[in-house]
């Protein structure tokens, strides 16, 4: 049965909708500007006259970017790193979070404190660099994955989710003869899709977007993840323009920059809507715990 909305409610809803629409437009504008610039001609970019619509429409920048094999190489490297990283991260994080959510596990408290410490006090950069380097991860593709697979914050989100998991279900499974591991893999994990999606998304975005970290550890241009490759290609806009002949070239630093930025965020934008429902749910997990 539908409850009739009062006039006040309607006005309220209208106002809220209006505010949200305005906010959405505000966040959309920069994206549209960049998109427009990426399809604009060099002349239009030089004159700085591109706003929301491309001026002097051309595919020149996109052609340059998409025909660049280096970019695709980095793209696939990043996809592989993200997918494998997320799987590995979910495995490790859940395996740590689950025992920590159990009261009967005596060392849980100390381990939690240990995890929290890493959250509050980050390792200083020089010892961190030397440690990772001494493990042999300098200029190694695994450096894109391994250091990211366990973060305290994500682990705590998972732990609070597991703490709410109905004890009765677990007990019933145990009575039916399931061991701890079987219980974990066959009962707990399959019923935790929401938290896995949320945390997976967190990890995914982190690994996809990571920049500072690979910048520190990767010098081999063949191993550059996408974000670093982009940085390499768009570079620092030098104050003094190059004097090489630009005849026949219809892209500039700025249009290339725009194209490459759109290229890099596209995958995340495409994935987001599908995970959004879990995302909103999962992000609340930590807070509703009684």
């Amino acid at each position: 049965m539908k409850v009739r909305e009062s006039v006040n409610d309607r006005i309220f809803r209208l106002v809220i909708t209006f505010i949200l629409v305005v906010l959405a437009i505000i966040t959309l504008i920069p994206l549209l500007t960049v998109l427009a610039l990426s399809f604009s001609s060099k002349a239009a970019a030089d004159m700085n006259i591109v706003n929301l619509r491309p001026v002097g429409f051309t595919f020149a920048s996109w052609k340059y970017i998409l025909s660049n094999r280096e970019i695709w190489k980095s793209f696939f490297l990043t996809v592989v790193a993200t997918v494998s990283g997320v799987l590995l991260a979910l495995m490790i994080t859940s395996m740590m979070a689950y025992p920590l959510s159990k009261k009967e596990f005596k060392a849980a408290k100390i381990l939690m404190v240990a995890a929290l410490i890493t959250m509050v006090f980050k390792a200083p950069i020089v010892p961190y660099f030397l440690t990772v380097k001494s493990i042999g991860l300098f200029n190694h593709p695994l450096v894109l994955v391994l250091p990211q697979i366990l973060t305290a914050y994500n682990m705590i989100i998972m732990r609070s989710f597991f703490q709410q998991f109905p004890l009765e279900v677990e007990e019933a499974a145990m009575i039916d003869g399931a061991g701890r591991f079987r219980l974990f893999y066959q009962i707990v994990i399959p019923s935790s899709k929401a938290v896995l999606a949320t945390v997976g998304l967190f990890y995914g975005v982190t690994i996809w977007n990571q920049f500072q970290h690979p910048m520190m550890f990767i010098q081999d241009t063949d191993l550059f993840p996408l974000q670093m490759k982009i940085r390499q290609l768009i570079g620092d806009g030098s104050e003094l323009q190059t004097l090489a002949s630009m005849a026949g070239i219809n892209y500039s630093d700025r249009t290339l920059q725009a194209a490459v930025v759109v290229f890099a965020i596209l995958p995340i934008i495409i994935v987001y809507p599908f995970l959004q429902k879990y995302f909103a749910k999962g992000a609340m997990l930590g807070s509703v715990k009684g």
């Binding site: 030089d46 940085r231 004097l243």
Partner: protein
């Protein structure tokens, strides 16, 4: 309780083990000797310098062989993300703390001072004249004196090769074709200059029937409008007040009476609409967008940018502009000049080593770098990769970060003289005659602006004088007051308050350090 104790013990154990592991790593003698000699006797050096996104240089790559031919040394250049210099600095620091300092590198943000104190850099005082005579000759004697003042131990030793620019590079630029269109003479006094600006604003010099002209302007933080400040004899670099002799002593240009009068003048232009109302909001793209769309009459940039501005406008609007040098115009009672700084820090320092073979190799590289006969080769790079033959003349190809290796040894920008630069432009003309009209402007402007240049007393001052006072270095206070005075938000008398605040917030100490440094160069 018991569990806690066991845990603590385990943790302590892990800590101890990892601590020992760390020690073992550091003591490894294999790591510290990084020099390598390949089978055929070529010494290999690891070289680091600015790379804004080009490919690195690995052993036996094209650029490796190219440099080996020029210098006789194998140069390995890993890819180090520059990122405005901040990431480069971090990477370099990490490498140094791992005991893997590059053999030859560019130091950034005054990091050389600490390295010299710790004995990490090679003392070049005696070896350079002997083993790299070309370089020794190419750098003027007075510039070597400035380099001597960088020695933090006060002994005046030379620990690096400076980045030298022995001529005036910046200039006020004015649309000669606009002057011609309105039948105006090139202004020589401040009053004439203001009259020209008024004419630019009102008489439609671009002939499109709209009053869309912007007589003059600049960029955010009161940058890139030094031609206006220059009228008051102010030392300025790209909008940052510099140091010169005022009232007989080395002083920060930003706190002088000259600055007060300059701001007063600029504020007047702003009020009258002769200065772009968006001056303090323009970013690079914004301001250059206006320049390229045939709307700006007078701007300030590198003299050689006349070519780039002209060509960009031609493609964008079809108009062929003529960007001429705006003479340094003196305000009544002042002596105007365009600020020239010959030394912009160190370009190269060398890792300290006793290995004669490595020292000799480094000296070979530096000598080639300082040899004017090789500057062309270093500039044009590899034929096919960085340049191509057009009409029998080498010409640079457009930048392509996907295929070009980084030309890390670049004397054209850090050592070469005006003659070389002009020659470069003439070569470009020979290669492509259709560009002559634009390239001629750069050649003419470069030669013409020299008469207005003056080397300021703060030339070559190390950034270490600002140590502990980043806000003074970043001119936070200056930008705030200058902007507000120009836009009329603050009264001009507020300038005195700024001077007081500037001295109180560290300006006093910085001035003292700067004067101490200056005394050392005298």
């Amino acid at each position: 309780m018991k569990a806690k104790k066991v845990m603590a013990l385990v943790l302590a154990g892990i800590l101890t083990v990892s601590a020992f592991a760390g020690c073992g790593e550091n003591g490894d003698p294999k790591e510290s000797g990084s020099k390598s000699v390949s089978e055929n006797g070529t010494v290999e050096l690891e070289v680091w310098n600015c790379n804004t996104g080009f490919l690195p240089c690995e052993k036996d790559s094209e650029l490796y062989n190219f440099y080996k031919e020029l210098t006789g040394v194998g140069i390995i250049q890993p890819y180090v993300e520059w990122n405005g210099g901040s990431n480069y600095q971090q990477q370099l620091n990490l490498k140094i703390s791992a005991g893997e300092m590059p053999d030859l590198f560019l130091p950034v943000n005054g990091m050389e001072a600490d390295l010299i104190k710790n004995g990490a850099l090679l003392d070049l005082t005696d070896i350079l004249p002997e083993k790299a005579p070309h370089l020794w000759e190419s750098v003027p004697e007075e510039v070597w004196d400035i380099v001597r003042s960088y020695d933090p131990t006060g002994e005046g030793r030379i620990y690096g090769v400076p980045n030298v620019r022995g001529f005036t590079v910046y200039s006020g630029l004015i649309r000669q074709d606009w002057l011609d269109a309105l039948d105006l003479e090139m202004p020589t006094t401040q009053d004439e200059f203001v009259e020209v600006l008024r004419a630019f604003k009102e008489d439609d010099p671009n002939g499109n029937g709209m009053a869309d002209e912007i007589p003059t302007g600049g960029r955010e933080e009161a940058k890139w409008m030094d031609h206006l400040f220059a009228m008051y004899g102010l030392a300025m670099q790209e909008g940052a007040p510099d140091w010169d002799i005022y009232d007989g002593e080395l002083t920060y240009a930003g706190v002088t009476e000259n600055m007060k009068d300059a701001l007063q003048f600029i504020r007047g232009l702003y009020e009258e609409g002769l200065l772009d109302p968006e001056t303090l909001l323009n970013d690079k793209a914004g301001w250059e967008g206006k320049i390229n769309s045939d709307r700006v009459g007078v701007c300030y940039h590198w003299a050689e940018s006349a070519t780039a501005f002209s060509e960009a406008m031609k493609t964008a609007t079809g108009t062929e502009p003529d960007w001429a040098v705006l003479p340094a115009i003196s305000a009544p009672g002042y002596e105007s000049f365009y600020t020239t700084k010959q030394v912009t820090g160190l370009e190269w320092v060398v890792k300290n080593t006793e290995d004669e073979a490595v020292i000799d190799a480094v000296m070979k590289v530096l000598d080639a770098y300082g040899n004017p006969d090789l500057w062309d080769d270093f500039y044009y790079g590899i034929e096919g990769m960085h340049s191509e033959k057009v009409n029998g003349k080498l010409q640079k190809k457009a930048d392509d970060k996907g295929t070009q290796q980084n030309l890390i040894i670049n004397p054209a920008n850090s050592l070469a003289d005006l003659e070389f630069k002009v020659e470069m432009f003439k070569d470009m003309e020979a290669a492509d005659e259709s560009r002559t009209w634009a390239l001629d402007q750069a050649i003419r402007d470069l030669e013409e602006v020299q008469q207005y240049g003056k080397v300021v007393a703060g030339d070559g001052m190390p950034s270490s004088v600002y140590e502990g006072y980043p806000d003074i270095l970043n001119r936070t206070l200056y930008v705030e007051y200058a902007s507000k005075i120009i836009t009329g938000e603050y009264d001009i008398d507020k300038f005195d308050e700024f001077v007081e605040k500037w001295y109180a917030s560290g300006g006093e100490e910085v001035t003292k350090a700067a004067r101490e440094w200056y005394a050392k160069t005298q």
